[in-house]
């Protein structure tokens, strides 16, 4: 397999420790299938005799359902099934944390596009036509358009429990006393918007019942075992009868973490006894799919006269939309990042998850992190400015050090990486760029900094990922784990980890990804946990395998387990290298004896035993860090923000694959750029999302992206596989604040709301007399 040059290695020193496959830029294991178009996504698949499905969705956001009439649709020739809530045999609800969203709506509709019925027909056109024959009669209820509305006492209640889905209060020290003693206190309110995932492959899948009577669901997803559980729960069948395959998926970014098409496919395939395919169209993905939680955060923050942070009092509101999905844990991440990696003696966090009629918010890369980071890092910048301190000095002064006790009583670990990252940002040429004369009189330049913290994995939630390696006598090692690879590169990283552990070349490693029939339960691809969890579990599995083989080799070589050594797929007698045996030959012997050649390993993710009072999973043991500087050019005539450069210094632990890590960081920055400058899902008066396609919802194209520079600080995470942490989310977290801070420097105006679209920028410039 070709190794790609070009990306600098994470650590010369670590290389010198003698890694053969780690810190190396292999191209992704599925690269050739992807560049030749050979790889079949589930939306590309055809199965003999398959039916085509469509979802009938509500055309109102908040209403009682009076009647839902499907009789005409059922009569249409070519229609094989029309299903409603009556056809859900098990729990008619789904939701990753608390199942509160109906699989098929009944009684009440809570967002525009809520699924109410399913159609399966012989072809797409018939399915489409059948949708038009379904008649829903609603009794409209007043819709709740925003959190501000939802929180009013007179607001219509979306759920029996009211409009607050979760409330948390976390206290440390005494903020009120601290404010009295403070040299300076600032109080500011920050808002961020609803961001869509806009993966190129919409939610899609295919399902069929096999000859053994098992239900097979092949769908782009992020957690095949949780999908399996949710499908079994709604169909009221044993999970053993359900097989889920989640690889490959054309992008996910959190938007395929909860179920999308899976339960609907399962219902239709079971009812019709035929294979069924369901692919959402682009508009449907925009309306029915998940999005990032809009946020409303007020910070009241105080410093002493020396520029040391004294207190941070935060009021956090996240808009979870109609149902919770991942809302409760997303709120935890905002809670966790709202004090940054700073040492602040007095803290109050009042956090609320709020229902509205705005679709369903769920997981999205960063998972509450970008929202909280925009608030705290904007505040840090403004505080530094008020204190007439350099923004980097101010942050360095308040940054926790290793061994300090963090905001949640946790011991801050490995803080040297972020200290180094932030210190080195000072040398970035971007700081000088801001001082150069702009090319035109109406252009202004600015440079802004932000730093970020984000946990790896599920914090205090018990997490025991299992993965396996299987020895194939014909000369291959199968690597089996369930975290789906939807582009991050976990398949490649894990192949490298196993190659390193077994000292075998990459072309002997074969990855089987995210198929519950073969892959053990390694959990989800989410929370930047893929490599950390499956890599560690695979190391346990590799050790088990080598241990068993060592016994077998000792017997074969007429030696003892201490008398032999292992290298590159062979066991040799120490001091007599002419006598050796290959692991593949040993495999043949084991197979002849009827022994398994598959070895499973389970890893215990290090955690604090209990969450901090008021939270579900805070804090984490392992955190990633990043320091970012962005430079912009603001056109004061149009309000257009041209982001010229973004530099990221990241601490992601030891880097398994520098090329894939760098490209993933660049991708995270690009998504963050969209979050910061252009992306926002907007609703009309009826709460219908209006901009669901690529010409109205603007994701960055090649023409929009800045020059990016990514560097990894040399660090080593003792709990990580070969020192790795996680990485997917850290690049997106600080982008919004770093760009808003650059805009402040350029314009003299501070913006408290994302995205920084030309209209919003210009209007505030004019208001402040800076236009």
């Amino acid at each position: 397999m070709p190794e790609v040059e070009a990306v600098k290695l994470a650590s010369e020193e670590i290389l010198q420790q003698g890694y053969s496959y780690i810190n190396r830029s292999y191209q992704r294991v599925d690269a050739l299938d992807k560049v030749t178009g050979k790889i079949k996504f589930f939306s590309d698949m055809k199965i003999e005799g398959m039916l085509f499905a469509r979802v009938f969705r509500s055309s109102v956001a908040h209403a009682n359902i009076v009647t839902l009439d499907t009789t005409e649709a059922e009569r249409l020739q070519g229609v094989r099934a029309v299903l409603t809530y009556k056809d859900v045999p098990g729990l008619n609800a789904y939701g990753a944390i608390i199942p509160d969203a109906p699989v098929l709506g009944y009684g009440k509709v809570r967002f525009y596009g809520e699924p109410l019925a399913l159609v399966a027909a012989d072809d797409q056109e018939t399915a489409e036509k059948a949708l038009g024959l379904i008649k829903a009669v609603y009794e409209p209820l007043p819709a709740v358009h925003s959190m501000d509305e939802s929180l009013k006492p007179e607001a219509p209640k979306l759920h029996d429990r009211g409009n607050i889905a979760r409330h948390a209060l976390i206290l440390k020290g005494d903020v009120d006393r601290a404010f009295k003693d403070a040299h300076l206190t600032l109080e500011r309110t920050y808002r961020t918007q609803s961001q869509k995932h806009m993966f190129l492959e919409p939610e899609a899948g295919i399902a069929y019942t096999d000859e053994l009577g098992n239900l097979n669901i092949l769908a782009g997803g992020q957690n095949p075992y949780r999908d399996k559980m949710q499908v079994a729960r709604s169909l009221n069948i044993s999970p053993e009868k359900v097989r889920v395959i989640n690889y490959p998926a054309g992008g996910a970014f959190g938007g395929k973490d909860d179920v999308t098409v899976q339960i609907h496919l399962a219902l239709l395939a079971t009812k019709t006894k035929r294979p069924v395919k369901l692919v959402w169209n682009r508009e449907e993905s925009g309306i029915g799919g998940f999005h990032r939680h809009p946020s409303l955060i007020t910070l009241k923050t105080a410093v002493n006269d020396d520029g040391r942070l004294l207190a941070n009092d935060s009021h956090i509101y996240l808009d979870t939309g109609a149902y919770q999905s991942f809302g409760p844990t997303v709120l935890d991440v905002t809670i966790e990042v709202i004090n940054g990696p700073y040492l602040i003696p007095n803290i109050r966090i009042d956090a609320n998850l709020v229902y509205t009629n705005n679709g369903i918010s769920s997981a999205f890369r960063g998972f509450g992190g970008p929202q909280g980071n925009f608030a705290i890092e904007s505040m840090m910048d403004e505080m530094a400015e008020e204190m007439k301190m350099d923004p980097i000095d101010f942050r360095l002064k308040n940054l926790a050090k290793s061994g300090d006790i963090g905001p949640f009583g946790n011991s801050m670990r490995n803080m040297e990486g972020i200290h180094e990252a932030l210190s080195r940002l000072r040398n970035s040429p971007l700081w000088q760029l801001g001082k150069e004369l702009p090319p035109k009189p109406w252009i202004r330049r600015g440079t802004g900094v932000a730093i970020a913290i984000k946990g790896v994995g599920f914090g205090t939630i018990p997490d025991y990922p299992t993965a396996a390696v299987e020895l194939l006598p014909q000369g291959k090692i199968k690597v089996l784990f369930s975290n789906p690879d939807y582009g991050q590169g976990v398949n490649t990283g894990n192949a490298q980890i196993v190659a390193e552990a077994l000292d075998l070349p990459m072309n002997e490693i074969e990855v089987v990804n995210a198929d519950t029939q073969y892959s053990p339960d390694t959990g989800s691809s989410s929370a930047s946990r893929g490599t950390f969890t499956s890599g560690n579990a695979l190391l346990v599995a590799c050790n088990k395998m080598l241990d068993r083989l060592r016994m077998e080799a000792a017997l074969y070589l007429e030696s003892t387990r201490d008398g032999i050594e292992y290298a590159s797929g062979r066991f040799l007698i120490k001091g007599n290298e002419s006598k050796s045996v290959s692991i593949y030959d040993l495999a043949k012997g084991l197979r002849a004896k009827g022994e398994t050649l598959k070895f499973e390993g389970t890893f215990e993710v290090p955690r604090y035993p209990e969450p901090v009072k008021g939270t579900l999973e805070v804090p984490h043991v392992v955190y990633m860090y990043g320091a970012m500087v962005s430079s912009i050019e603001l056109n004061t005539l149009t309000g257009y923000l041209d982001v010229k450069n973004v530099d990221l210094m990241a601490d992601i632990g030891n880097v398994i694959n520098p090329l894939l890590a760098t490209t993933q960081c660049e991708g995270g920055i690009v998504q963050g750029l969209g979050f910061a400058t252009s992306e926002e899902l907007v609703y009309n008066q009826d709460e219908k999302p209006m901009n669901t396609n690529y010409t109205t919802y603007i994701v960055p194209s090649i023409a929009d992206i800045p020059k990016m520079y990514v560097e990894f600080i040399k660090t080593y995470e003792q709990y990580g596989p070969y020192g790795a942490k996680g990485m997917a989310e850290i690049p997106i977290v600080p982008v919004g604040a770093s760009i808003a801070n650059a805009l402040k420097q350029a314009s003299g105006v501070r913006y408290y709301q994302l995205p920084l679209t030309p209209g919003r920028v210009l209007s505030k410039l004019h208001d402040q007399g800076q236009g």
Binding site: V35, G250, G667, Q671, Y694, S701
Partner: protein, 153 residues
Amino acid sequence: MEIEVSFVLNGKRVTVKAPPAKSLLRVLREDLDITSPKPGCEAGECGACTVLLDGKAVTSCLVMISQVQDREIWTDEGLVKDGQLDPIQKAIAEEGGSQCGYCTPGFVMSAKALLNSNPHPTEKEIVESISGNICRCGAYPRLVQAIKKVANE
């Protein structure tokens, strides 16, 4: 109503029967099992369905099958010759220009159209050539790098 249309696909003549307004994208995917062009939006906005039509990059979702009689179409599948990858396919793999892979064939074809007509493009020309393709994983710098690599060979 269906019409019969005959065209050259990846070097071989094919004949299909389809409604005249059916998109080339759907004919390729549904009738000819050519699935590298992807229906990312079916509105000409994302570029994931890009193919070469008489050498020019077009979004196949906006081409009607009735428009392609006797014309020449190349898709990503067709660039592999005797098991050998096209240089642009190889370069995108090596430079890390493909992450989830769904948009990749569209980028390959946009780049191919450029390199066919302009073997040594400037950076600006490279950027223009793929400005109609969306990569949500954000592999843009690597795609530019890959095209440059082929252009410099």
